[in-house]
């Protein structure tokens, strides 16, 4: 599946959206206007321009292939199992082997079958988010939208969900939209970046983040690693665009040793 936005706009915003979403790609979305993107894709607002799914204008039935994970997961029943069967009912899924679908969904997020018996109120914040993802994956959607799923999590749990998002991209070939208000997460995880702030900006991770002036001019926070790399540059040191601290640290130490030689 490929989704293409061509000059998409709405009366409340004064810019046009132009970009394409492809499988095996994480598109990071940052900026206060991010909700419009969700509303466009879920056909909640009348838009001008074209949203094309595999070349044809988007229709209600295309949404079956989308999974939208809202910021705060909410549950209507008492156990994880009941939640799955509620989804079954909503989907009017009459398959006898629904349990197989549940198990493969749980597999994708790395949860064991034991979780089905868990009471919702015994789950931690991050477990709730992971169960929310598993519930969303039951239809085997091609597009998964994470709305600030990474916010409000401590280090271990955030790393666990980051790993899961990356696996959905690489192993399950999903199209992923990752909305986050921590610019560091956008930098670390996304291949493509969309900014919906005062203007619309889009580009590859490198196109957006290697251009400090572009970030500054558009009031976009600068990721910590980029700040550091830029500071080194001002001292006459060219560092490569590492995505994590370990790589960056190694490179810095190598460079410092060269200076000291």
């Amino acid at each position: 599946m490929e989704i293409k936005f061509a000059d998409v706009s709405f009366e409340e915003i004064n810019y046009n959206l132009n970009f394409a979403l492809k499988p095996k790609q994480i598109t990071g979305v940052y900026g206060k206007d991010y909700a419009y993107l969700i509303r466009f894709l879920l056909l909640n607002i009348e838009y001008s321009g074209n949203i094309l799914v595999n070349g044809k204008e988007i229709k209600e039935k295309d949404k079956k292939n989308f999974c939208y994970l809202a910021k705060n997961p909410y549950f209507l029943t008492e156990t994880v199992s009941d939640e799955f069967y509620l989804v079954k009912k909503e989907l009017k899924d009459s398959s006898k082997k629904f349990i197989d679908k549940i198990v493969s969904s749980l597999n994708m997020v790395g949860l064991s079958k034991d979780y089905l018996d868990r009471k919702i109120n015994s789950l931690s914040k991050s477990e709730k988010k992971i169960v929310q993802i598993a519930l969303g994956l039951i239809t085997n959607p091609e597009l998964v939208i994470f709305e600030k799923t990474l916010s409000n999590l401590d280090g271990n749990n955030s790393n666990r969900i980051k790993k899961l998002i990356e696996e959905l991209r690489s192993d399950y070939e999903k199209i992923i939209i990752l909305i986050d208000n921590d610019i560091n997460n956008i930098y670390e995880l996304s291949n493509q970046v969309i900014i919906l702030q005062d203007n619309f900006l889009s580009g590859s991770n490198k196109e957006i983040f290697s251009n400090i002036d572009l970030l500054k001019d558009n009031n976009i926070e600068i990721p910590d690693i980029i700040k550091f790399i830029n500071d080194a540059k001002n001292h006459g040191k060219e560092l490569s665009f590492s995505k994590n601290i370990k790589e960056l640290g190694k490179e810095v130490i190598k460079n410092v040793k060269e200076i000291n030689k």
Binding site: L153, G155, S158, N181, F228, V256, I259
Partner: protein, 268 residues
């Protein structure tokens, strides 16, 4: 040093499961105190106990007042609480109405209310938010409004429950500096959080783990042991993680909280 808040021998259980067992903590008057804990360490429950949302009897003492059924009103007017725990924390559509409501609830005259609200708006530089709808605010703006609301009745103690988690770095540092300014005028700030970048300027740090205070320390001491913090499950702020790695390889002399300072040490 006198304490503004003390909790003595607090025990709390639900359905025979013990959460807090003989728990003690003292928060110094006019201090910026942080309690750090990961998800499920007991942060939100502790907040609820301190703020009388979960009732207890004579275990919490705030500014000399014992928290119990009779004195609960007197007790809670001395506290301002800002929490991210509620899904829809606001009552009104307009930010302005939200700010006026708590004071009219206290029976203040319209004149007085207007004066107080205007002062707060000016202090926190939020004129641009006044006519907005509360549901149109960004997460960072919502958190800011929650703090301002918590302070509007001029409490002695401000309790923050993970309030910085939805703020970006800039918003977070702005708010902390504003609060430290208020500290000079007598406010005590109790920052209960999992976000380590919000505790740099704390006078004292408590580590909450599994419903117990595991450590009572200073920020400078705490960051010397990043392994300990990582093991507990905290995410380590970029500056601390990188500079402690570099310091351990002798590339720089000490842990730095500032990227430019780090650069100056490295590329001199």
């Amino acid at each position: 040093m006198s304490s503004i808040l003390s909790i003595n021998n607090l025990s709390y259980e639900i359905d025979n499961k013990i959460f807090f067992d003989n728990f003690n903590i003292y928060v110094e008057d006019k201090s910026f105190t942080s309690i750090i804990g990961i998800n499920r360490s007991g942060k939100t429950m502790l907040t609820k106990l301190i703020c009388a949302i979960i009732p207890t009897t004579d275990k919490c003492i705030l500014d000399g007042i014992y928290l119990n059924k009779e004195k609960v009103l007197k007790y809670i007017t001395k506290i301002g609480i800002a929490t991210n725990d509620f899904k829809s924390p606001f009552l009104f559509q307009k930010v302005k109405d939200e700010l006026f409501y708590p004071l009219s609830n206290l029976g203040y005259s319209d004149n007085k209310i207007e004066k107080i609200v205007n002062k707060q708006i000016k202090y926190f530089n939020m004129e641009n938010l006044l006519d907005k709808n509360t549901y149109d605010l960004t997460d960072g703006e919502k958190s800011k409004l929650l703090v301002v609301l918590a302070l509007i009745h001029n409490p002695k103690l401000l309790v923050l429950d993970d309030i910085f988690s939805d703020m970006n770095k800039e918003e977070e540092q702005y708010m902390i500096n504003k609060l430290l300014e208020l500290k000079k005028h007598g406010l005590t700030i109790l920052n209960i959080t999992s976000k380590l970048s919000s505790i740099y300027k704390s006078d004292k740090v408590f580590v909450l783990n599994n419903y117990k205070i595991e450590k009572e320390t200073s920020f400078d001491e705490l960051i010397k042991d990043t392994k300990y913090l990582e093991k507990l499950g905290f995410s380590i702020p970029f500056e601390i993680e990188l500079s402690s790695k570099l310091a351990s390889c002798n590339a720089i002399d000490n842990i730095s909280l500032n990227i430019e300072e780090m650069g100056n040490m490295l590329w001199k």
